[in-house]
Symmetry: D2
Subunit: 275 residues, 4 copies
């Protein structure tokens, strides 16, 4: 129902990926090809790590395609790591505190998908959030609840395990209330160093998610491409929906997997809910 | 690039036409079938005449589909005459003062279409607006400029003639600057008594515009339809795009014509620019 | 930190009390005399009962003094009962869902004051809200939490008792966490028939609250006053801060009391927290 | 009726002057000491030159004191030159296009004050704007009109002369229409290299304007002050109202003068309208 994008690599202006590409994220806000809804006009957010590697947020309830401040900021700000999201609400209020990315400490979090029958499950899930985290909750979305559950389960020290435990709890809670397929998700989360990209759904038919191919391979394939030339070999992009039409540039994240972009070799691992 | 709707007749809650119908105006804001753009998410406005027949406005830059205040107001306010508009900007800023309807004295005005190459023509057109009206201009759209030109040319005393002279000036000015087809428009305007609905374009291929059929005829055709039962025989709706799927309910306004809904017999007349 | 106003009586346009008076509510948004803060620019809301006695809301995060839609609506809408509020945030996010009045079913609720150390107490208080009500919570304020606690404790059947039990719980919870004076409040709440106006604080120094004097008495005192002439003898206004300067027009609600405006004789009763 | 601030010197995070100081600009938005109005809640803007010395804008209609995006950006963005403004409207609409700074090419512009009887003079002044500039006008304020008049009169090549001619025209036009004191202004404008700060009014009683003292002098006076230590000797701040309470830190710009911050020696010159 939403679209998101994560970038990690050589510092670039945000506009390079948010605005300037064919099939840029903003373009997808008006005309998504692969999304469950074609219009994603219920808010926009970007979180970036600044030159002191502090996470900063710009979030707005205006549609991304007509927000002028977004264009200015995307042109004026460079970052080595950012996470951006366009929202199509599944029912909760259109307000900045319901707009992704969510932030806690050094962590940012975006989600595409939904907890089915969330109103039914909300109280029980919210009660499972740690006392010390409770007061930081500012909105009312399923996505933010998932973030605080993951934090409760140790996101900061064991990101993959924490998300597996969060998903386990959501599925258990959902099934207890008779929800057949409680969860549909792709999730992007980062601490400013590594980026974790999850693709999972209870029904095994998850929303799309793509990784950009290794830059060295791409550069070898397209030696004349200037956009690629300046980027380090470590540079990676993760997206709900491919940007541009460069053949060979994108690999789909397999069903029930998590991809990790990190210093050193990246990883792709199976993902399984835990209780 | 926009959609609009005019209602005149038995007082009804605004929500009946803005929200509750299949293919309601709000529904069209997300998924227009006949419009030049499918998403009309750059603002919403409704002008209604209250119980003292004073025109009132509610205008917002938020997409109509996610504006809660709009739902509340449309549920709480009844009117015998209202004019509503959803906007897809053709380039000018997203702000309330660029959102339709525009109002001057007792008159309301909505426009679908554009003046081609408006930035080129703007100064000359603005200069043709009467001194006394100039200071009431609040926005920067072609649509509002057309309204103030029509007012300059006598909208309040001779509505059809004034719009014909406005169109004549816009076409003359455009052609002087080498614009082949300067104007594309459907326009709805009213003084709280009569509603004027224009369909015209320089190229003779105007955006769609529909009148609802006479209520007595419709009621005879659909005696069991409760929605129709309570409405007076005088009740009429004009829309960019039909609401609902009731066969026989809608007549297209012919190319280069103006329809007039008024006390007594309605009229449909040819429309021709004047200089 | 906020200002509010309740009106019950002969139907009048909202603007009569929100805009047109000396010391109107909107005027107070810029220059409060008696408030803890002088500027109340963090949002505005009005809830009114329409001609079918259905409660409707208009809420905005813009300052009341510069919101044009508010002026239009206040001019175009009449009601026999409305509740309005201007906000000065005590820390929670500026968003419509944190803006008063809050609504549940037929009930509206406004609050001036705060729960001290709310972040510390929030989780425990939220957990005391009934399961069936939990999913209706949309914001993050202390004020909305108090509303849902009062609903949990029977607001709809025993309004005064429910608020006394809510206050009892808040004070008990606060003191358990070492908060000396947990609560400061004036509250206005209504079901569309009766209006309940509470003044209470743990420290016994509550924010100001005033009732308008009986209309028959006022009319006798000011036989030439046209604004009063048209209003029924049942008409009452409750305000955080007096409107206008008519001597004898306002009576302060005593410390730890609740005033009830209702069909038949109004009431003024002592108020005491319950556990 | 507004407050503004210009900074030029060693690159610093915007928050240093917008948020973190005693009497910061945001603090002044709630409680101005020297302004004609105490609340400046009708919008906020900042324009900064980025690392490629391109001017970027962030403008919002929300009050500065409660805008979260502003806090994020001010924390995440550093610049060697920025211009910021908080608005108290003198009547024109609250919308981003009426919010300062205005930008044209490399130039930014902020204004505190007003053209008296602007609605009366507006058309004539707007007509004096150069054809080629006309279409860039986006709002309806006196301040933006002054900017485009100054551009018409050569702001880009002779900034002081252009502003003198603009003021001459405004005064002549005003007096022709019987306005005794047509203009009240402090103006800040910059091309990304030099900053021009004007203080002038037709009545010779202009709004306040202050320059920070030479940094080398200040550092000598306050050798232990860490905030000063890191700033180059070239660093200067111009403000409507002093920040902080450091004695000797601020010099008032004299009546009818213009100060110029530039590479090499700064200047302070008399200012006189020209026709």
């Amino acid at each position: 129902m939403c679209r998101w994008l994560a970038y990690s690599g050589s510092p670039i202006r945000l506009e390079e990926l948010l605005l300037n590409r064919d099939r840029s994220l903003i373009d997808q806000s008006l005309h998504s090809r692969l999304g469950a809804t074609t219009t994603n006009g219920d808010g926009f957010g970007v979180g970036w790590y600044d030159d002191a590697n502090t996470p900063r947020l710009y979030r707005t309830v205006h549609p991304a395609w007509n927000d002028r401040n977004l264009r200015e900021l995307a042109g004026g700000i460079s970052s080595h790591l950012f996470l951006s999201h366009i929202r199509a609400s599944t029912g909760t209020a259109i307000q900045e505190t319901n707009t992704h990315p969510f932030r806690y400490g050094r962590w940012l979090w975006v989600h595409n998908g939904l907890i089915r029958e969330f109103p039914l499950l909300r109280r029980e899930l919210v009660l499972a959030i740690d006392d010390s985290l409770f007061t930081s909750i500012e909105g009312t979305t399923d996505s933010e609840t998932m973030f605080y559950l993951a934090l409760t389960f140790g996101l900061e020290s064991d990101p993959v395990g924490a998300v597996e435990r969060m998903v386990g709890l959501v599925e258990e809670t959902g099934r207890k209330h008779g929800v057949e397929h409680p969860l549909q998700m792709t999730i992007g989360t980062t601490d400013g160093q590594s980026v974790y990209a999850f693709r999972y759904s209870s029904e095994g038919e998850s929303r799309s998610l793509f990784f950009s191919t290794r830059m060295d391979a791409l550069k070898a394939l397209y030696p004349e491409n200037e956009a690629l030339a300046g980027l380090s070999d470590e540079t990676r992009v993760v997206v709900s929906e491919p940007l541009g039409d460069l053949e060979g540039a994108w690999n789909e994240v397999p069903e029930s997997h998590v991809g990790i972009i990190q210093p050193g070799a990246d990883e792709l691992r199976p993902f399984a809910p835990q209780r």
